[in-house]
Amino acid sequence: MALLVPLALGLAPADGLKGVFAGTVWTGEGSVRAKAAVLLEGSRIRGIEEGAVPREEPGFRTWPGGFVTPGLIDAHAHLGARADLAEDTLSTTPEARAMDVFEPSHRDFARAARAGVTAALLSPRDDNFVGGIAALVRTAGPAAGRVVRDEALLKASFGAVARAGEREATSQQGAVAALRRAIRRGKEEGGSRAIARAARGELAWLAHAGAPEEIFAADRFAREFGLRLHLVHAPLAGEAAARLKEGGIGVVCGPFDASTPLRSLRSPAALAGAGVPIAFCTDGPAHEPEALRLSAALAVRAGLDPERALRALTVDAAALLGAADRMGSLEPGRDADLVVWSGNPLDLGTRPLAVIVGGEIVWEEGARKPRRPGEPVAPEVRP
């Protein structure tokens, strides 16, 4: 790992990356192209050129054995600010904004970027019934383009962790009553703007739920107030898949690891099978960024269709987070956030070869030092 040095942030692509040729390109929109080039224009994707041949012109890079995907999206994380994303004194803090503790230069983001995770939902933690507003950020690239949506979702929690301690509320009944009160107050004159927006459906909710009855309570709550709501964690959500589908609820699954019970690992497959939109998350830095691919791979092992797993890591996550127009696929006009892998990223032996954000190579295997503007990228070094 000592060789893998993250490249400095905020460097303009002076040499202008114009295209990436790889043996395989997975576009995120359901098609796999062999021997294709992703053409870039500035910080955006211009298109895909099929049947391309490696070119020796400046601005073109070639990975003959590479597997290109859109950059992965971590749909629930606390990167760079874990301790600062829960306000403990109150149980309902809808006006708190994760954006206010976003530190783009924190090493958590560089670590995520070099694992192929190019965007993350920076979210308030699960500790409050209403935790605050989550922001969708990119993990690397020019400072100006790091924030994709500063008000992406309103974080809520139906979990036991929000009822711990001696403050309102200590029971699940009390928690739901507190949420109901929060909505009612938010609708009043002078009430919380965030709650009011979320109650009107302008802002979707992302609700942590653990046990089945918490999933049920969240679903019921969404129906009662006509909310746009998605779940995060919810390890047994798959067992309520039909209901969640009916309510238009998506689920951010994971993080999974080797100790996750099979019953939970089966959840993404059951959800996807019922047509529920899914994404994956790491809760980073609580888990390493690699936990994102690991979670998806474990879900595949437990029955999730591999194509759906890749979509959940990219295009479906983008849709769930309300940023499908910006990221998650290699459609023309999308941000040029992509990863060149040594193989299919669902194969855990696969490693990233290069990570491109906003049309710029922000990390590359074997690069020994930060690349200066105009400086050629270091020659590829195979371990």
């Binding site: 009944q173 009553a177 009043e188 009855e213």
Partner: protein, 400 residues
């Protein structure tokens, strides 16, 4: 574990509604005459005929009763039955915390209990809204009979137990608070209703807590109080007079000492559970509970139901009926107390509580006499939610 997995199809959602004919040597309709060697038909989730079957699958047993009703259960509440942060919380709803996959509910269904009133616990002076639900069914939604039922309140020691009087140490916890005495409990109860009256007088609106209290004042919502000791029961009656409230009581360990008064005032009582462990070990408020409590209440003409509270196994509701019978409650009264009269107290007698055409097909087929024998089959809304013949757990439990 394997047994539990195998048992899942037996309980849980189970098969869709079927057509059944249930035959028994004795059919206890509760609302009407007892039928000998008779049949009951079940179709589309309802009782389609009494004294005649409906074709379909035939189930046979010694006796048939309506599904049992526990009018003061604590089963299935997830995340704590009490909200500790507030003493007066009328707008809490127990339905928000009901576990759709509760094992306690599964055990109730297996014991023949098909409908329960579940309420917030007794730590709050005014704890919130209970719910009337079936113990099994296709989903929690379809199981709900009354989503927001009687408002739950408590007298006596329960709401103050655990609160710390300010004279001990530095107040660092929210348990340093009122009430810390019986008097304080009554004070908070009374204040809540005074606040509601003031809220109405000022023409305010939009406060759900106050609206719920006013529904109780206006007689549009039932009020259930836990009152165990005689002084708590008398206080409850006094508060009812003072504030103009219609009340019903559970806990009620000493209700037999004022049975005539309760009967005269038409205050319904949910009695039990009868203690089977040493009283002191249970932190009970009543030193020597009267085992004939239920019998004396019924004799005085009190509208009576029985509850097993949080008890399980042999202490479950059929066991409570047997205990009450052992200490003087006639069988017919015991059966009514766990079926039709319980339904009346909960205000759901139009749907459950007796074997009548058109009512929900909630039925228990017993091997021999009700309570004293084991349930062979339990139907809820026309679904066979428990079938002893296909329950491998039952065989193991009962040593067959």
């Amino acid at each position: 574990m394997i047994g539990a997995l195998l048992a899942l199809p037996v309980l849980g959602s189970g098969p869709a509604e079927e057509t059944f004919t249930l035959r028994a040597r004795e059919v206890h309709t509760v609302s009407g005459a007892r039928l000998e060697d008779s049949s009951v038909g079940v179709r589309d989730g309802k009782i389609s005929g009494v004294g005649r079957g409906a074709g379909g699958r035939v189930l046979e047993g010694g006796s048939l009763t309506p599904g049992l009703i526990d009018a003061a259960s604590t089963a299935g509440i997830a995340g704590g039955s009490n909200e500790e942060s507030s003493e007066v919380a009328p707008s809490l709803r127990v339905l928000d915390a009901l576990d759709p996959k509760s094992r306690a509910m599964e055990r109730l269904a297996r014991a023949g209990v098909t409908t329960v009133y579940v309420s917030p616990g007794t730590r709050g002076v005014i704890g919130g809204l209970g719910a009337v639900v079936k113990t099994a069914g296709a989903s929690l939604e379809t199981r709900v009979v009354v989503p927001a039922a009687a408002l739950k309140a408590a007298m006596g020691d329960d709401p103050s137990r655990g609160n710390i009087p300010i004279r001990f140490g530095t107040p660092t916890s929210f348990y340093f608070r009122r009430p810390t005495s019986r008097m304080g409990v009554v004070w908070l109860f009374r204040k809540a209703f005074f606040d509601a009256a003031a809220y109405r007088e000022r023409g305010r609106s939009g406060d759900e807590d106050m609206e719920i209290l006013l529904q109780v004042v206006d007689g549009k919502r039932r009020l259930r109080l836990t009152a165990r000791r005689l002084n708590d029961i008398r206080t409850t009656l006094r508060l009812a007079d003072e504030l103009g409230l219609k009340v019903e009581i559970d806990g009620a360990d000493e209700a037999h000492r004022c049975a005539e008064e309760l009967a005269a005032r038409e205050v319904a009582v949910v009695a039990g559970p009868i203690p089977t462990t040493p009283v002191r070990a249970r932190f009970a408020e009543v030193d020597e509970p009267c085992l004939g409590n239920a019998a004396l209440l019924a004799k005085a003409g009190v509208l009576l139901a029985l509850t097993a509270g949080d008890r399980d196994g042999e202490e479950a509701l059929p066991g409570q009926a047997l205990f009450a019978m052992r200490y003087g409650l006639p069988f017919d009264a015991a059966l009514r107390a766990v079926t039709l009269d319980a339904a009346r107290i909960l205000g759901v007698e139009s749907r459950v509580g007796s074997i009548e055409e058109g009512k929900d097909a909630d039925l228990v087929l017993w091997e021999a006499a009700p309570f004293a024998s084991r349930p062979l089959a339990v139907l809820i809304d026309g679904r066979l939610v428990y079938d002893a013949a296909s329950d491998p757990d039952a065989a193991a439990r009962e040593g067959r």
